[in-house]
Amino acid sequence: MPASAHETLLRDAAVVHTSETELLGTVVRLDCVNVRPALGALAAGGFDQLVDMFATDTGEAIELTYHLRAFSGFETLFVKCTVEYDGELVSVWDIYPAALFPEREAAELLGMSLTGHPNPKRLLTVEGTEPLLRKSVAIRGAQEVQFS
């Protein structure tokens, strides 16, 4: 698979995106409404596996990262998009079933609502836990730990 295969795939699917090569590897940035068509096109075009899916709190919004891999040639691609706080995380489980668990985790730990997921329950924590991975949620301080 040529190194720019994803460009062709995404252009054919008419997905607006920017693509650049960073230290990390090839990173494709797009709008979060375009994630499903983009991943659908990439999956059909030979990116076999969703290696990982996770979310990061950038301080202004939540950044989703889809780490894809094509086994022919071990091509790696990072697809990134941004979602507002308390925004909507659209599931891609029917394209990559591997996303079933990480999506639930990302939604609960960063406080997003999960749509299109067959089992949108919490995965790791109990009901009522605040979104722990947000930067605004502080961990326990030294005082609290010492005197509890």
Partner: protein
């Protein structure tokens, strides 16, 4: 049994709708009013390898649907790493995959080194590979023992515990700890190999060869055991790919991928080893693949001990690391498969975000696919064959 096998291409089948089961009455049998039994397996169950909780929907003894519920060990390793300096994160990561802490440490060290552009001395690479392979053996023997225990065989478990103690002695001599090593640091390793450890390793390997064959004979040579695991929990190649499986579980389904060979790190480019691959995708194949991996590890350890280079064991690294802002992904082949660290740095002394791509997490997601349609006894064996460690699943 046969309808369990997934004909999964890219098109999602109805089987993938979780939790499609957990419905009370099977369709078409309303007038009989038979009920399915919902059984909670775990969190306290001898065969869930920790605190996994599996909801089983049973029709008699046959499992109709299964839903894995995790989070009983969620302790915020990713969150806490954001408040730890780069040298301190290893402490947390050891406790993520507690059967093979060195692999997680190495993955993190690799990510930091690649981000900060630190050149690692050749000897450090070799020591890393050596300790990691020892650690892989220590993890795989536990898997073999608990897998046997899931099938009801007690003896192999106790036999492998003996081997594991010997392995832990060696690891303790090298790293100073039995399980929580904190040995691999960004830039190299914490300490040089102690004098005389190579004779110790060689002496162990000579015995371990026989012990390994003994364990293999006790488990794989036993007809009852074979009957229990052959054609059970079949995962097709496509399903394995779609669910992003990793490691031995993936290779047993016919995907020829090994991070050590295909995305080399540490000293693996200089080593001679084979990657065992099977095609059936059932529990037996997973057993065979992992057993063969152990033999390959033994082979690699021999090469590593023989060819251990001279030199520094660590590069010069500042006390407080401040890698430049950016992102980096580094993966190692842990005993459970591709274990990756996705590191986001903002140039500060602590990571901005650390994501642990844990292989067992993805392997566990297959539970429902693999279990549905088999018996309770199979469910136990299938979960055992996936080789899960709850520490890295829940993080």
């Amino acid at each position: 049994m046969s309808d369990v096998r997934l004909d999964v291409s890219r098109q999602p089948g109805p089987r993938w709708v979780l939790p499609k089961g957990l419905r009370r009455v099977p369709e078409g049998l309303d007038e009989l009013a038979t009920e399915h039994l919902i059984l909670n397996m775990g969190p306290q169950h001898p065969s869930t390898h920790g605190v996994l909780h599996v909801l089983l929907e049973l029709d008699g003894e046959e499992v109709q649907a299964a839903e894995a519920s995790v989070g009983y060990l969620h302790r915020g390793i990713e969150k806490l790493a954001e408040s730890r300096k780069y040298h301190q994160v290893g402490t947390l990561l050891d406790r993520a995959d507690y059967l093979a802490g060195l692999h997680t440490e190495t993955a993190f060290a690799l990510a930091v080194e690649r981000l900060a552009g630190i050149e690692v001395p050749r000897k450090a690479d070799w020591i890393r590979s050596l300790t990691m392979e020892l650690c892989r053996l220590a993890s795989h023997v536990v898997w073999a023992g608990t897998f046997g225990m899931d099938a009801g065989a007690m003896a192999p478990f106790l036999y492998i515990m003996r081997d594991r103690e010997a392995l832990l002695d060696i690891l303790e001599a090298i790293t100073g700890g039995r399980m929580m090593f904190n040995y691999v640091r960004p830039g190299g390793v914490f300490a040089d190999l102690p004098a005389g450890v190579d004779t110790k390793i060689r002496a162990f390997l000579d015995v371990f060869d026989t012990y390994l064959e003994e364990t293999d004979a006790l488990l794989g040579g036993n007809e009852i055991f074979q009957a229990r695991i052959k054609n059970v929990g079949v995962i097709s190649r496509d399903t394995a790919m779609a669910f992003g499986l990793a490691g031995g579980t993936m290779r047993a389904s016919g995907i020829d991928f090994d991070v050590r060979r295909d995305m080399p790190y540490a000293a693996y480019t200089e080593l001679d080893f084979d990657v065992p691959v099977a095609s059936g995708g059932d529990c037996w194949d997973r057993y065979v693949v992992r057993m063969e991996e152990m033999r390959q590890s033994v082979r690699m350890i021999r090469q590593l001990v023989d060819g251990m280079p001279e030199g520094d064991f660590t590069a010069k690294v500042p006390k407080v690391l401040r890698p430049p802002a950016g992102e980096m992904y580094a993966a190692v082949e842990s005993p459970r498969g591709e274990l990756g660290i996705h590191l986001v740095s903002d140039g500060g002394p602590t990571p901005y975000r650390m994501r642990l791509r844990s292989p067992a997490y993805y392997n566990l997601a297959i539970t429902d696919e693999a279990i549905a349609g088999s018996l309770i006894a199979d469910a136990v064996v299938i979960i055992g064959s996936l080789d899960i460690v709850l520490g890295e699943i829940d993080r």
